[in-house]
Amino acid sequence: MSLSLSNADLLASMPRGFADATHDAQAVFRNVLDALSRPGRLQTMQSSDGLQPPAPLSRGVTALLLTLLDTETSLHLDDSLASEAAWMYARFHTGVQQALLEQADFVATRAADAALDGLRLGSDEAPQQGVTLIVEAPSLATERHASLRLAGPGIEHEQRMGLCGLSLAFWQQRIAMQRLFPRGVDLLLVCGSQLIGVPRSTLITLENY
């Protein structure tokens, strides 16, 4: 009800959220759950026809934001993804609060700008306060020459994945973070309707470097 009457024009041009808010969000939530319980394995998000992402957000990132955010969560959009339209959209459809990088529950960024510095890791008493980093990746394909080997909960033998457009320094930092467990950052990598989850419990080793 925070929308005042003078926002009439803004509402008239507001892009649509999920066509069927409840069921679409449930389906995407299921995909996120699968992604985080099977780290490194590619999941396909159920695409929602009615969804209109605001510039400059992609469909995949928008679907995740609509699914995961509500009035009790806070979001930080990296400069590359932040825009007036994106914020209005997120606030209208989810009621999410805008937060600084250090305080946000969710952070969304492009792969090229992704960094782990300054993110909230939670504490040993309250590891659930660690941030969830949503990364818009250029590709989630497995690269032949360079890859990551994943092990840990949810992986029976081993799982491989490419760098997904994230820098080598980013992954090295992620590996360095493993000793802080249960503190850490959960990663959701999105490209189109494809999704890969890398929770903080996953142990990563760099291969072929």
Binding site: L5, D9, L11, A12, M14, R16, A21
Partner: protein, 156 residues
């Protein structure tokens, strides 16, 4: 919007008329004016609670009076090249009424429909509400008790 057809106060006024209109009256008008348009629901009707705060005799501190059930929704409609969004908030959980309010609000903002709807929908509904209120006031006025105090002769 090319030019302003109405002010915020105008819109508040017609929204007040619409939300207070009885269901039957709205249904009747909706049949005539709303059915022809295709609406896009930006926000489907959802029911929640709103906290009502009050002040006694409009003085003193505000206190929480209680919670009321509110249903709200947002409809969007395009007529020609104009797209407008209308909001509907009604007390209670009557989703259809909230939809009608939002639909009329969206249509009333359309330049091509504004004048007609204002004359055919808002004016009669507002007159009907005024009549009901006047009747109610008359009924209450009959039971009004006035106290007179006689002035003492000394001060007169």
């Amino acid at each position: 919007m090319t030019k302003t057809l109405f002010t915020v106060a105008d819109r508040q006024a017609w929204l007040a008329v619409l939300t207070h209109a009885p269901r039957a009256g709205l249904a009747d008008k909706a049949m005539r004016f709303v059915a022809a348009h295709r609406f896009d629901w930006l926000r489907e009707p959802e029911t929640g609670l709103a906290l009502v705060r009050a002040r006694i005799a409009n003085r003193g501190d505000r206190f929480n009076l209680g919670e009321v059930t509110v249903t709200r929704c947002i409809a969007r409609v395009s007529v020609g090249e104009h797209t407008t969004a209308g909001v509907g908030h009604v007390l209670g959980r009557d989703e259809q009424r909230a939809r009608w309010v939002a639909q009329f609000d969206a249509l009333l903002q359309q330049p091509s429909l504004h004048a007609e709807l204002q004359a055919e929908v808002i004016t009669p509904l507002s007159a009907a509400r005024a009549a009901v209120l006047a009747q109610e006031q008359a009924r209450h006025a009959a039971s009004r008790v006035s106290f007179f105090t006689l002035q003492s002769e000394a001060t007169a």
